[in-house]
Structure formats: C-alpha cells, structure tokens
C-alpha cells in the first residue's frame, strides 16, 4: 500500500555489487538496507518489517538457498529475488521451487531488476494489508461474549433472528440485543460488512 514504508534488503558477499545495487535503488527513491552475508541479515532483520529481499545465491558461509530455508522456517513473508551467476541454473530452479519471487541472471539489465523489485514490493504490501485487517478482525472477535459469538456465526450464516432465537432457546428480543452488541463491537456498519469480516477471519494465515 505504502511503498515508502517498505525496505529492500540486499544480501551479497561482493562489496562492489552491494554498493552498486544500493546506489541503483536509491536513484529510484526506494529505501534499502545492505548485508554482506546471510548471517548478518538474519541477525539484523526483525522478522516482521515489510519489503523484499535481493539475495545472491552463491556466497561463502551460508548460501542464499540456505537463508531461504531459514526464513521459511520462521514464516517470514519477505518475497525473495535471487541473483544468480553463470552456471547456477540448477540452484535457481530449486530456489523457485521453494517459493522465491523470481531470479535474475547476472549480468542483468538494471530496469529488469527494478521491475521485479516493484512487483515484489506490491505483492508484499497486499499480503501485509490483508494480514493486518484479519488480525484487527480477530482482535474484535475476541471481544465477543460466547452468546454474542453464537449469534455472530448465525447472523453471518444468513439466519433470521427468529430462527436464531428458537435455536438458542432465547427470545427474539434477546437476539436483537446480541446482534446490536456484535455490530457495535465489530464496528460493522452493515451485515455485508460483518460477513466480509468473517470470511477474512476464516482465511488461513499466510
């Protein structure tokens, strides 16, 4: 949503390449952070900040592929763009299988890299927004009482108040009261809004 809040993390063991890429990203007005090794990145990254990762496959110490595995284990959602050298194709294939956003062969055209970065950032921000909304809904859901949660489930399933009253063996009036509380607590202006909240909440976390 807001690109400026995202950071492009660059990990490459070659100092010159790292510096050049940082300059390039800077020239297009994006924020970036550079790391000389995979371990340095793992040490610095908080695990939640948005953005994307530009990663050299072949590195001394922990390789790019190994870093990818670590991040998957940690459920880090940063999209990864691999930069591969000559003859690293098999590694690149493996990286893609593991869910890399894309890979670029060196030497590459700079615009291509920038395009990939923008795509990755956009995708990352979309996911991040969706996640944010869901977590907000989940928080609101947790404020509902048990009876209000039952009523919430039945309302969003399209049941009429009367039906709910019979099923829960409560009065229509009481259903009305609960419904009002649910709408207020969930900050929903309409039943349609409430249903959307329910759908988001039911999405599996990414």
């Amino acid at each position: 949503m807001d690109n400026t809040q995202q950071t492009i993390y660059i990990v490459d063991d070659d100092e010159a390449v790292l510096d050049a890429l940082a300059l390039l990203i800077d020239t297009v007005g994006l924020r970036c952070q550079t790391f000389a090794s995979a371990l340095a990145f793992l040490a610095a990254y908080d695990g939640v900040s948005g953005g994307c990762l530009v990663l050299d496959i072949r590195m001394p110490g922990m390789s790019g592929l190994e870093l990818q595995e670590k991040l998957i284990e940690k459920h880090v959602l940063l999209p990864i763009i691999f930069i591969t050298g000559h003859g690293d194709i098999p590694m690149a294939v493996e990286a893609m299988r593991n869910g890399a956003h894309d890979f670029i062969r060196k030497p590459f055209r700079e615009q291509e890299l920038l395009d990939r970065i923008n795509e990755a950032l956009a995708m990352e921000s979309g996911i991040r927004h969706q996640q944010y909304e869901r977590s907000a809904i989940m928080i609101k859901l947790k404020t509902l009482t048990e009876r209000e949660h039952e009523v919430f489930q039945r309302i969003t399933a399209g049941e009429a108040n009367k039906v709910i009253a019979i099923e829960l063996n409560i009065s229509d009036r009481t259903v009305e009261v609960h419904r009002a509380h649910v709408m207020k607590k969930m900050a929903a202006k309409s039943l349609a809004q409430l249903v959307r909240m329910k759908l988001i909440a039911e999405l599996a976390p990414v």
């Binding site: 070659d14 010159a16 003859g87 060196k106 030497p107 590459f108």
Partner: protein, 1006 residues
C-alpha cells in the same frame, strides 16, 4: 639125621624151621597114629635115662630104641624119664624120685628100660615102687660085675664095652709113626672104668715102644695145660671129658669142643657121635645100634618071652670110623685106613653099601634141596624184594621230601595228621604242633571252614572222598589256595583206616585263573565293543572268532561265519589270492601283510564289496598258529580322504601359486613350511628354511616386536597381527615386507602354529618414494584439474565486477537524467574500479594456467603419461571405460615443463572420460592413448568412442568458455593449446569417422 641137622643148620630162620618141623611131623605122623590105635595099657614102656639132660649119646640111644619100636608089629607106647644126674653122683637117689615116678604113672608099665648103668641101678632099687611086675631091659657099656644081677629076676639087657683097645690099635695102624698116645679120661663112671682097662693097654704098648699116657684126674684148667704140653708126634684119644675132678660137668659137645680147641694134634674117640666135630676118628660104638638091640630085647619081652630066659646080649658092633674132613686136615693117608672103616663126609664110599639109603637120601636130598632151593629162592627173592622195598621206600621218602605238592597221611576221620612232608608245611604254614594235633583245622580260612567241615563229615558218613579246594591261612597271615586229593586206606575187613593224599598250592593257579578270566572278560569286552571288526582265524583260514563290529560290517551273524572259511568274506580275486598268501606264508614264513596293514575289499552278505583297512597279526600258542585280523570299513574314510586330497591339492596350488609368500612356523620361531614365493623372496631353499627360525630370518631391529607379538599369540591374546618389517635375504640384502600373521590352534584349542603371509614391499616402497617425488608435480596437476571444476567459481569472480560495473553505469545514467550530477564522479570512479577488478580476475586466471616461470626439463612422455593415467584410471574404471595404452618404446626425450604437459594430458583424458560419461553406451567406453615419434616430434594421441564434438561447436572449440559440460567453464582446451604452443608444439582435434573424437598434440624432441 645128618641132612636134617644140616637143614636145621641152614634154616635158621623161623619160617624154615616151621617148615622142617612140618616135614618131620609128616614123617612121623603114621607112627603116632598107630600108637594111638593100640592097646596101650599092656604096652606102656618106661625108658629111663640117668642124664640130667639128654646127651647126644642118650639121644641116639633113645633114637635107636624108638626106631625099633616104630617098626614093631604092635605099637608100643614109650614114656621117657630122666634122672637128675647130679643128685645121683652126690648122694643116693632119693626114694622121693621113685615115688614121684610112681605117682606120675599110676597105671604102671609093662616094661622098664634103662639106657645106662645109673638108670639100671635106679630101676633095680625102685622097681617095686614104680612097676613091681614089670621086667627090666637095660643097656650099658660097663661090663657087668660078677653077680651084679644076682637075685634080680625079670631082667635082661644089652651089655657093651668101650672099644678103647681097638681104638689104640687103629691109631697104631693109621699113624705108624706115633710115639705117644694121650688118652683123656675124666672122673665120670666111664672114665674111671676106662682107667682100669687102659692099664693093660699101656703095658702092651710099652712093649711096642709106644707110650700111652692117661690124662686123668684133672680139672678142666689142668687138662688145658696138659693138652698143651703134649709132644708133637702125639695122638689124643678123647675117651671121656665131661666131668672133672672138681665135679664140673660139661656136656659131651662142650667137652669135645674143649679138647679140639686146645690141641692141633689128631684126636681119636671111642664114641661115634664125637666124630665130625674136629675129631679124626676112632673105633666107635654106635649108640643107635645099641638102642635098637635094646629095643629088640624089649619087644621080645613085650612079645611074651620071659626076661629071665633071654640071655644078656653082648654087643660088639664097633667099627672104625673117620671124618673125611679131619683126615684131610691131618694129611692122613687114606690107604692106611682099614677097608671096613666108615668115612663120614665121603658120600660115595658112604652111600655105596647103602644104596637104598642113598636113593632115599638122594630123593630126600633132591626134594629137600628143591624145597631149600625154592626156599632160598624165595628168601633171595624176598631179600631182593625187601631191598627193593627199602630202596623204594627210600625213594618215596625222598620223593615226598622233594615233592612240590604237600603229602599227608591222616587218620580216617581226617582229624589227625600222622605224617606230612615239608612241602605240606610250607604250603599250609602248619607247624609241628599243628600237624600232630588237630590244630590244622584252625588254619583253614574262616570262609572255607564250614565247607571243609561238610566235606569231612560227608566223607565220614559215606566214605566217599571228594577233591576239595580251600584256603589255608599261614602263620604270616597270607592265605593259600589249596586243592586236596586223598585216597582211603582200608584194612583187610574193608574198613577205612586212614587217608593218604596230596595238597597242591593252587594260589598261583587261582590267581592266573582269575587273571585269565579277567583277561577273557576284557578280551570279550574289547572284542565286542571295538569299533573295528576283529576276526580270528586258524592256520586253515577257518574263522574262530567274529566280533560284533565285524557282524555289522559284513552283515553276517557270528554263528554264520564261525567254522567257515574266511574266503566267504572276500570278493573273488582276493579269496583266490588269500589261499596262496596263507600257503606261501606257512611254507616260507615270509610276511607280507602280517604286522603291517593294507587296504583290501570285503564282501558283504548282500554281495556288495566295500573297501576296508586290514591289520593282521599272528599269534603262536604252543605251535598252533592263528591270525587276528582287525579291519575297518573305510568307505566313508575313503570318500573323506579323496575329498581331503582334493582340497589338499587345491590348497597346495593356492599356497604355491599365491603371489604372496606363505610360511608356517612354530611359536618358537622354527619354520616348518614355506611356499615357492616365500623361498624366492628370501632366496633360501625350503630345506634351508627348515633349519632357520623366523628370528634368524628377520632383521635384528624387528626382533623385539616379533617376540612381543609371538608371546601375545602364544598366550592367546591375539589371533592375528599385521606388521611391516625387514627380512635378511640369503645374500644379505634387506627385504622390506608386510607380514600378516595368523595363529592356528591345535586340537585342544591351544595356539599352535603361525601362518605368515608375506608381501614384498620393495616395489611398493619404490613406488611410494616415486610418488613422494612426484607429489608436488601431481599437486600442480591436481590443481589444474580442479581448475576445470572451479570454472564456475572463476565465472562468478568475473561476474561480480561486471555486475557492479553494469549497475553503476545504469545508476549513473539515472543520476544524470535526474540532474543529480554531483553524485556522478563517485559512481564513475567506482565503475572504473570494478572494470579494473574484472581485468585482475582474468589476469589471475591466466597466471594460474601459465605458471609464472616455466620450468623446463628433459622428460619421457611415456613416463609422464603413465603417471597421469594412474590419476584418471580410477575415474575411468568407475565409468566402465577401458583405458588402453599403446606407447612406443624408446620414445625420444622432450624438453618441457612436465607439469604443464601433464596438465594437458590430464585435460584431454578427462574430456574424453566426461564425453563418454555424458553419453553412456551400452558397449562400454574405450579410450586409447598412443605415443609416437615422427620427424623430430613426439606425438601424443588421445582417442575416445564418445559422441564426438558437435559440428556447430567445432569452430569455437578452442575459444575460452565454450563448453558442453554442465560444470565446465570452457577454459581447458584454450589453456591446453596455449601450453602446447608455448612448447612450440601443436594441439589438434578431429572427430572420428565412426564415433568419438581424437585430440593429439606434438612436442619437439631435443
């Protein structure tokens, strides 16, 4: 009578005497019988003699009477009585004597006979008391005095005289030279009477110049002296010498003996019975004739004649009589003897006038001689028998003494031992006391005592003696087994009187028996439990024994075989040969099988043959030969043997053909066996090695280690070990070896031998040394070989600056467009730096490939190639690629940087391997390497049967980074070409016609 007395003299023994008496009884029996049948009362006759005991004279007189009585027509019963002469002489015969006779013979007598003067006197005096009416018949030598019988009735008799004058005449005629005749006269009635008669003779002789001396009135002592004093030419006349002047009375025989023993002069007598006792002769009266005449008168009286009517009979029956022996003794001329003289002991002359007597006598003599002879024969025989008996007894005594068996003589109830020999004592241990008493029984072994008691009891009851065995306990406590045999002795009534028997010590026999039994039991056990078949045959091959194992082996029961010929157990060729073998052995004694063993075939009952091993031994007992065969079925053994042989052979081949040296040796180090390689390795022959120990073979510096190992092996701590060491070869060289020792164990699981497998390390060590030398060069080659694999890394190295350059340039462009010019110089500077960096990478790679200073040396391409092949061989083998080297011999040397050339070789070979590996072919890959020399150039050709080079790639083949390999970077061939060209050579390529590619390079020779 003479014969009888001769017989009596000879037959001194009692038995003979009895026989003679019997004979006499027979001769007299008829007369005794006749007497008994007569009317005895009227013919009882008292015959009275005066002598105290019957003298020879009296005896012969009575015998004459008796002889006449015996032939009397009617029997006469005579009674003989004798007066005590000494009583007569000293005093008047006592009337008591007559009374005694009267009382004794109360029936009286028909007749009284007096045989001498004294008796006549007694009868005349006492006839009234004894038999008042009985007539008296007498005989006497004394002349009757006138009127001597006056007034006495019923009396008659024979009157005799002593022929002393006739004797003197005889002496004169026989001994004409005699000068002195001494007449011995005693003090008896006869002697006194003769003194008177001699007076007239003396006077008559004196006229003829002959002296007649009367030796009278002497004691026997005085007579002795007188006889001794007689002159030489004297003759003695023994008239009477029974009573001396002192009253000493001697018998006639004694008197004769007295005189004859005192003088050697010829002695004459007047009594016939005196001749023959050393007396020469004389004119004698025979007492028997007088007795017979007396008896005839008596018979006439008994016949009824009155005694008074019978005149006195004057007897004149004197005859000269000589003893032939004495005549000879005194050398008397027989011619001088008067013809009518009787010569005693001169049979013919004696018997001639008495033919009947002679015949009778001869008959008697013959019969008696026969009897005597038979008696003598019997005596001799008996003596001989007795001698033999004595000897025999002696022998038996010796035998019993020496006999090894005990001999005893016991009472019938066996309770008392009368005699035992020494052996008996030594066997039973019985002492002297035990033998004579019943103690022997106490020495019977306590366990056998009841048995002995029973058998003795049984013997007592049934008289049946059984052989018995029992033990005796000796004094020293040892016991002896005894077998006793006995036989009974019986008396004439058939009662058992004793036992005689033997004892044999059978202790040893018992022991041997027991031993034998045990041995037999053992033998039987051995025979029947033996795993081997055991067959015993005799000389004729007849089976005597057949044990259980043999039964199993041959399938026959023992009974089926025993007694049959052994050949039934043999298949046909053997059974024929067997007979020959046995025959030959028995004849020649030549042993072929005996004592050794051999393998033959046996015939089973079911007809099958089977191999067996036979060991044969001979037993010779008392000349009887038998053969014992021990056999084992070797069917299985043979199979195992063959298998073993096969395995052995395999093992032998394995050991001998093994490329390793193999030797076995004791823990002590002694070498037992070694294979060919081991011998070649050490330079010793097997025989020499057998004299050596492992230590001697090893380098002294290894000894400590060897001993430690060996000790550990001996204690079972290790079963095998490996070590490197040095052997000292026979020629003194050291030999580097690697030894693998393994321990073998004996049947008890103890460490036994060590088997050493020895590898000659000489070549390996040399190779290792060579390797070390080439290590560095190969390291370079390795480094180069890594280069290819590192091409990806090299690419990365170049890519990095290129990427940076590209990014900087793009960024600079954007800055320029954005008008941010102030930042451009920095960007451009960085860009330039990255460009330089890229150049540096290239240069580094080039420098690596080239080496900064090429080191040139002379080298043999074949050697270089061989080393490289060793590196590539492993890869090739793994990919099933056959690498063939066809290297030209004596290849000229080249002057080159060996490492670089090897890099090229390695590169080409690796390309070929990779090419084949990328396109595997069913037939398997082949790489051929050839070296050749042409025209001052050495050419190395590497050819493969891979896919070859793509046509489109051929142009760029030697361009850098042109590669078809997944991991290749395309620098190998360019660098290789660069290297070869740097050596003034050429690297070329061509695809093969059929398949694959060929690369070759050339190098100039020196």
């Amino acid at each position: 009578m003479n014969f009888s007395s001769a017989v009596l003299a000879i037959t001194t023994r009692s038995s003979l005497r009895a026989l003679c008496l019997l004979l006499l009884c027979l001769l007299c029996s008829s007369h005794s019988y006749a007497r008994e049948q007569a009317n005895l009362a009227s013919r009882d006759v008292l015959i009275l003699s005066s002598t105290q005991f019957p003298s020879e004279w009296t005896k012969q007189t009575i015998a004459g009477i008796q002889a006449e009585f015996d032939v009397a027509p009617r029997p006469v019963r005579p009674v003989y009585e004798y007066l005590d002469r000494s009583m007569f002489l000293n005093r008047t015969p006592a009337p008591e004597l007559a009374q005694a006779v009267k009382r004794k013979y109360q029936h009286g007598f028909a007749l009284l006979i007096a045989t001498d003067g004294d008796a006549l006197q007694f009868l005349i005096q006492h006839r009234a008391e004894i038999a008042p009416r009985a007539p008296i018949v007498f005989c006497r030598v004394r002349k009757l005095g006138k009127g001597e019988l006056q007034g006495i009735s019923a009396i008659t008799g024979v009157v005799d005289y002593i022929p002393i004058k006739e004797t003197l005449e005889l002496i004169k005629s026989v001994h004409p030279d005699v000068s002195n005749i001494a007449v011995v006269l005693d003090s008896s009635t006869v002697g006194i009477q003769l003194r008177k008669e001699l007076q007239g003779a003396k006077r008559a002789a004196a006229k003829e110049g002959l002296t007649i001396t009367a030796l009278d009135d002497w004691t026997f002592t005085e007579l002795d002296a007188a006889l001794n004093k007689l002159p030489a030419e004297s003759v003695v006349v023994l008239a009477s010498a029974v009573l001396d002047s002192s009253g000493e009375l001697r018998s006639l025989d004694e008197s004769i003996e007295f005189v004859t023993s005192r003088t050697t002069l010829p002695i004459y007598t007047v009594w016939d019975m005196s001749i023959q006792q050393g007396v020469l002769g004389g004119v004698v009266e025979t007492a028997a004739a007088r007795g017979r005449n007396t008896a005839r008168l008596a018979l006439r009286v008994l016949g009824g004649e009155s005694a008074d009517n019978i005149p006195l009979f004057l007897l004149n029956s004197h005859i000269p009589m000589f003893d032939y022996v004495a005549l000879k003794q005194h050398n008397v001329d027989l011619q001088a003897i008067p013809s009518g003289a009787a010569i005693l002991n001169k049979p013919p002359e004696y018997y001639q006038p008495n033919m009947l007597l002679v015949w009778l006598g001869s008959l008697l003599f013959v019969s008696q001689a026969a009897i005597i002879w038979s008696l003598i024969y019997n005596i001799r025989k008996r003596q001989r028998t007795e001698t033999e008996l004595r000897h025999s007894e002696q022998r038996y005594r010796t035998l019993t003494k020496l006999a090894p068996v005990g001999i005893f003589h016991a009472s019938a109830d066996a309770a008392t031992l009368h005699y035992v020999n020494d052996a008996f004592r030594s066997i039973t241990g019985l002492g002297e006391q035990d033998v004579i008493s019943e103690h022997w029984f106490a020495h019977v072994h306590p366990e056998d005592r009841s048995k002995v008691e029973q058998s003795v009891e049984k013997m007592r009851q049934t008289q049946v003696i059984e052989r018995s065995e029992q033990r005796f306990v000796r004094a020293d406590g040892s016991s002896a087994w005894i077998v006793a045999d006995a036989a009974a002795e019986y008396d004439d009534n058939g009662n058992m009187t004793g036992l005689i028997g033997t004892l044999t010590d059978i202790s040893e026999l018992k022991q041997i028996q027991a031993e034998l039994q045990r041995q037999q039991a053992y033998d039987a056990a051995v025979m029947n439990t033996a795993a081997e078949g055991i067959i015993i045959i005799d000389e004729h091959s007849t089976v005597v024994s057949f044990n259980r194992a043999a039964e199993n082996m041959f399938g026959y029961a023992a009974e089926e075989v025993i007694g049959n010929n052994l050949t039934m157990l043999m298949p046909s060729p053997y059974c024929d040969e067997h007979a020959k073998y046995v025959e030959r052995y028995l004849q020649t004694g030549e042993k072929r099988v005996i004592g050794t063993g051999r393998e033959i075939s046996g015939l089973h009952k079911n007809g099958e043959q089977f191999p067996m091993y036979l060991a044969l031994s001979e037993v010779n007992v008392n000349g009887e030969r038998s053969f014992t065969g021990i056999m084992r079925d070797v069917t299985k053994v043979k199979a195992v043997q063959e298998e073993l042989l096969l395995k052995n052979e395999q093992l032998e081949v394995l050991v001998n053909q093994a490329p390793l040296g193999i030797a076995s040796f004791r823990l002590s180090g002694e070498i037992l066996q070694a294979n060919r390689v081991f011998c070649e390795m050490t330079g010793y022959s097997l025989e020499e090695l057998e004299q050596l120990s492992m230590l001697e073979l090893s380098h002294p510096k290894d000894w400590k280690e060897i001993m430690q190992f060996t000790q550990a092996a001996a204690q079972g701590e290790i079963l095998h070990y490996r070590r490197r060491g040095r052997y000292i070869k026979k020629n003194g060289d050291e030999l580097q070896v690697e030894i693998f020792n393994a321990v073998t164990h004996d049947e008890w699981g103890r460490p036994h031998l060590l088997i050493a497998q020895v590898m000659d390390l000489t070549e390996q060590m040399l190779a290792e040394q060579m390797n070390q030398v080439n290590q560095e060069r190969l390291a370079q080659v390795g480094r180069l070989s890594v280069l290819g694999e590192m091409s990806a890394g090299i690419a990365h190295e170049i890519n990095q600056p290129l990427t940076a350059i590209s990014v900087y340039a793009d960024s600079g462009m954007r800055l320029l467009q954005a008008g941010k010019l102030e930042r451009l110089p920095d960007v451009l500077e960085k860009l330039a730096a990255q460009a330089r960096r890229a150049g540096g990478v290239i240069e580094r790679v080039q420098r690596l490939a080239r080496r900064q200073v090429p080191a040139r040396e002379t080298a043999d391409c074949n050697v270089l190639l061989s080393e490289v092949c060793k590196i590539i061989e492993k890869d090739a083998n793994m990919s099933n690629i056959e690498l063939t080297l066809d290297l030209q011999e004596n290849l000229p040397q080249v002057y080159c940087d060996a490492i670089q050339i090897q890099q090229v070789m390695l590169n080409l070979l690796r390309n070929s391997v990779d090419a084949i590996r990328q396109n595997p072919q069913s037939s398997g890959g082949e790489i051929t390497v050839v070296t050749e020399c042409f025209d001052q150039e050495v050419e190395v050709i590497v050819s493969d049967n891979g896919p070859g080079v793509d046509v489109e790639l051929i142009g760029a083949l030697f361009e850098p980074f042109a590669t078809t390999k997944i991991k290749g970077i395309g620098l190998g061939l360019p660098i290789s070409r660069a290297i070869i060209e740097a050596h003034d050579g050429e690297l070329r390529f061509s695809n093969n016609v059929d398949a694959g590619a060929t690369f070759c390079f050339t190098l100039p020779t020196i």
